[in-house]
Amino acid sequence: MASRLHIPTAPYRPGEQPDFSTIKLPKAGELARPDELVAANECSELPFNLLRVLDDNHQATGPWDPQLPAAVLLDGLRYMLLTRLYDERMLRMQRQGKMSFYLKCTGEEAVSVAQCMAVNDGDMLFPTYRQQGLLITRGYPLLDMMCQCLSNAGDKLQGRQLPVMYSSDVHKFFSISGNLGTQFSQAVGWAMAAEYRKTNDIAVAWVGEGTSAEADFHYALTFSSVYRAPVILNVVNNQWAISTHQNVAGGDQNPFAARGIGYGIPGLRVDGNDFLATYAATRWAAQRARTGGGPTLIELYTYRAAPHSTSDDPAKYRPTDEWEHWPLGDPVERLKQHLVALDEWSETDHERMREELEDTVSTIWKEAVSLGTLNEGPHPPDAAMFEHVYKEMPSHLVEQRRQLEGRDERSN
């Protein structure tokens, strides 16, 4: 047989009928849970499997069940729902022209909420633009998030960043970069410093599966393995990188979680729409990192239900109903069903919570727009653009600021 160039394609394109019965879904609860300090080689089956805790009857099962109290699960449900409602509101407002851009994480809420809840407040988060749930879970004010998206007078980032590129030192949420993947290797450095300083903090970083092709992914795995840095490296495999299917990042060869083995890093492949499995995997990796075991690579297997961003039209490259066929369902719905099955929650409770959270978002939104919008202002002052280029403003920037403000005869 002659060899041929392999050009991977997406399984389904617009107009085609998605059928995901080919995706092998192992039963929940079947996967063994090794000791956190296991060697990567001794758990090399994990990345080729799929860690699931919630079964088809919405029960938690198996050794990975984190056995969380109902109150904690309810918190998780609340943060996920708030994240979704926040996204919906912001999308509508973007459509109304209040913002230049917006980006949702619909269908992926369990990733950021469960993972955030599974680590400590002192742990440093190095997110992508699709982990707004981290900030919501850490209690960052919605008002500040909205003002950032509006680039208004209340924007803590002084209008410098595209909407959703949040940053909060207080909440240990690293400033989001537009350059994909750069935070992955930076997180390793942060974790190395944590070790050097003998703190017990770890770093947690995320990239999309598309971004796993960037050099920074390799740097992060190499450096974290070499120096055994206490870091959790997450690949969110939401199937799509804009219009490019995960197969084009090599997902049709081996799972992304299996990339760790070659570096001596254990890989966990997790049902990312299963709140409990996502929590349990993260907890395992955090424990490993904190006790000297070094990094873990986690692949969160999920689906990007929303368009890539407001600049994207997925109808051009995938079936519009693909998400409805996605075999792993909706993370919010699945946790809700679990709580209902536990008799801790009901549809009525859920509706009430939804209304309450919608009201909260609406109220805060009104406050946010009262501080201005991108089109109508007020914005942070123009002169603020010269601040923070350096710690102290050098003379040429002082001069340029004067020119901008028209205080210089040469201004134009």
Binding site: D169, S175, T182, S185, M192, Y196, A215, Y219, E387, K391
Partner: protein, 361 residues
Amino acid sequence: MNAVINLQDDRSERRTAPEGLRPETGSMSMIQALNSAMDVMLEKDPNVVIFGEDVGYFGGVFRCTEGLQQKHGEDRVFDTPIAEGGIVATAIGMGVNGLRPVVEIQFADYIYPAFDQIASELARLRYRSAGQFWSPVTIRTPCGGGIRGGQTHSQTPEALFAHVCGLKTVMPSNPYDAKGLLISAIEDDDPVIFFEPKRLYNGPFDGDPDKPAVSWDNHEKGQVPVGHYRVALGKAETVRAGNDLTILAYGTMVHVALAAAAREGIDAEVIDVRTLAPLDIDTLCESVCRTGRCVIVHEATRHCGYGAELSAQVQEHCFWNLEAPIERVTGWDTPYPHAQEWAYFPGQARVAKALRRTLDA
């Protein structure tokens, strides 16, 4: 985030200095001066860590970090994988977490894999987070030709970095400045790209490859204090006062310019720019406005080279005082060749011609 961190210093047992690391006298080569700067900073600030390719056990391919791992410990001076992007990225993360990393990129020619981390991340972190996050990384890297390095061991890409706002870009021309500037760079809370002209590592070089090599021993700027001192960033130095014209140069070209002027018997004022960004425009323009003539010399290629910026600024500030066109003497707009190295290198003869043209204009 980078609030003062109280580190328990429990490494004192390991801190016995290897014999003979520091020269007894105040005379140091540029390599020794750089080594001393790092030694002083490792001693002074427990948050300083040093890493790069071959930097730890071996002490660097140019020996700039020799003995530092032995003296300060493996967790403070260590070898890295060969991944320039990874080196800078981890340094950024460490800096965010309170450390003060000093990394070596083995040759400036190999800094490009790290360019994204430098230009998009390191340089802009403070800005994009409105001051919430910043990382005081110093990146040391040997640059420049005249060492038979061919096109992959001879580049001086300073213009690419001086163009990036948020970075400070430095290139010393002698051991005294090298140590003082490196200490300032490490202590600075902004990121600094620190270019080390490797042709000057072991002695001053006036551009004549046929002359026997000289050491720094008898050079005034080879006399270096053993302890801590700073040479301020953002300050040029007038290395020779003169009246006929002003030469702006940095790195190896400072020595070439001095020799060319001496050879022509020209009373040139020679200014060592030292910090390319932020630029000490006042010192430069005060001189050019006085002499009315300006020649700019650098080793890197000409087109969009740093000399273009110098020329533009001199023109903006000194136009009414200029009596001749501003001249640039630079490397040709070709890669740095191997066999034709000395035809490429902007040596004394080319500088001297430009000086003559400028005086005669």
